[in-house]
Assembly symmetry: C2
Homo-oligomer: 351 residues x 2
């Protein structure tokens, strides 16, 4: 690891000009087979790796797309750190970027320092995918004025590309299942953090399903569990103490559903015989818990893929119309709802 060699050395060693070396490395055209081999040989011998910075500067294209996500741990949220689905999004983004010959740069914004980080990242990439809540609206706008930005959220500022997932339709699908297939009518909703857009959307889906079934939806969630296992358990204990036993506990996410299961077990209630439970997210544990939880799968990997594809597309076509993509969710029927065996998954309704 002495000194990184440059294109000049490769050119000299192979007896051609730097222009030719550049052409060869770009897999372009305009050189003889002999030349190509000589250049390649020289490059190999020197261990030359083209400088991404120089290349990026010359081409006005770094070949990198950024991914910004929030690290909520620093915000005093209950969340462990960043939601786990972030990992899936990252995987998807990596896959799409690599497929397109780009690389992906990731960074977590943490509180106030997030601003500087975001701008620093913006300088290093050609386009940016921003997960909900990782940036203030004005910082987002400022960056969007510089490079293509795509937001992963339920809604985006005017003119900003967006890819989202159909939270509302997914929740509506589970609830309709509970009502139509199992005949439940007294359903209770355990929400996540009050201001979480995901939680809000899912509650909207819950209400929509009740309304569609001719039932009266509540104005507010029956309880809140902060999206945590512990919170879900607490919510159920409280619910059980203050009202008659409902037919089903509809949880805003899987972790709360797992907590709910534990609380119901403690209360000597059988799931699903005495009471049904559902989750949201299709996290790994839902399959292993007893009984396996009926839930809703979100295509997080695909979310990441579509997101970088969209920014990549916009980098090329700066003035195409704004993207607004909403990915469908999928109902995953297991046993906690009362079904005996796993049914064929079906898609959540849009909207």
């Amino acid at each position: 690891m002495v000194e990184r060699s440059t294109i000049y050395e490769v050119a000299r060693r192979s007896g051609v000009s730097t222009a030719t070396v550049s052409r060869v490395m770009d897999n372009g055209t305009g050189f003889s087979a002999t030349t190509r081999e000589r250049v390649r040989a020289a490059a190999r011998e020197l261990g030359w790796v083209p400088s991404g910075s120089a290349r990026g500067l010359a081409k006005r294209r770094a070949g990198i797309v950024g991914l910004l996500f929030p690290d909520l741990s620093s915000e005093g949220e209950a969340d462990a750190e960043s939601p786990l689905y972030v990992d899936q999004v990252i995987r998807g983004a990596e896959r799409a970027a690599t497929a397109a010959g780009d690389a992906v740069l990731i960074a977590a914004t943490r509180g106030a320092t997030g601003r500087d980080l975001a701008f620093s990242v913006a300088g290093k990439v050609d386009g940016l995918v921003v997960l909900a809540r990782s940036l203030s609206d004005e910082d987002l706008a400022a960056i969007a004025a510089t490079i293509p930005v795509l937001l992963l959220a339920d809604r985006s500022p005017h003119g900003v590309d967006r890819v989202g997932v159909d939270n509302r339709g997914g929740m509506r699908a589970v609830v309709e299942h509970l009502i139509a297939v199992h005949g439940h009518r007294d359903l209770v909703f355990v929400a996540g953090p009050p201001r979480s857009p995901d939680s809000i959307e899912r509650f909207a889906g819950f209400r929509a399903a009740l309304t569609a079934a001719g039932l009266t939806p509540p104005k507010k969630p029956h309880a809140q569990g902060g999206f945590t296992e512990h919170g879900g358990a607490r919510a159920v204990r409280q619910l059980l103490a203050e009202r008659e036993r409902p037919d089903a506990v509809v949880c805003g996410n899987d972790e709360m559903a797992i907590g709910a299961l534990a609380a119901l077990r403690d209360a000597r209630l059988k799931v699903p015989a005495d009471i049904a439970v559902t989750g949201f997210d299709d996290s790994t544990s839902t399959r292993h818990v007893t009984p396996p939880i009926t839930t809703v799968r979100q295509p997080m990997r695909e979310l990441g893929e579509q997101a970088v594809r969209a920014v990549l597309a916009r980098i090329v076509a700066r003035d195409a119309p704004t993207h607004q993509i909403v990915l469908p969710t999928e109902l995953v029927v297991r046993r906690s709802c009362g079904c005996r065996s796993t049914a064929t998954p079906r898609r959540g309704k849009q909207g």
Copy 2:
């Protein structure tokens, strides 16, 4: 998103030279407070974000560290895609990099195309963290001749920095627990893929524990489960069919342990009353399964952190002695081993 403005425009607008603008943005020194404000104002008004490429070229430092990991799905392995712990490593890497003012670039190598990808990434970063099995030894060496490289594995080529986790000590700790605390003597080992270094190390730990207890360790694992849930179940069914019931089933990872649990349930055997089971990794599901699985926690997040810290250090001190760090694991006692309640976790022994 018209045209990215440059340092020249900012300089002109604020009535200073580009040198001064550069100084101000670098938070350096050598300018008056008045100047600083004028420059900042101009930058803000123009929405100027310094070009990372240009900056990197001039400073000979991109401010990016790379992380290369393998995507095993393309290799026809049983693994879903890439092992899940990769996510944790990524999180750790991101955290350490961000803390140091750098960003992290991630890329998954997939089969043969991995080579080009790796070199492409190498050109964009100042240092590279490479997860085991993502690159051939010679490609690794070629890149290591160019930029600082650190390998995340059980061993590394001569002169290459390395950070690993004490697989052997961790497995030894669980097995010793099974022997010393629960008095088991007939232990059976379910291994992962035969050539997996992790699996091999863990089996070595298994043998070491038996030997230390005066028992005769087997030369080869009793069964193989390919690190999958399904494989673990199959291994146990097979074992049950061909030999007397052992005291304990020691699994090379959690997924196989979960599969083992299912197979034992089908065989009407009670865990841990009739037979004990242990896993490795401390994946989320181990807590939710019945009974909760005694396992070994690996500090994957910390692994990622230490790794980028080490490469960052080497970028500064190119010729410091080679790093060789091994992180300790932690025994997580739950119920599948026969313990009633969760004991205080203790560290796995080194080596």
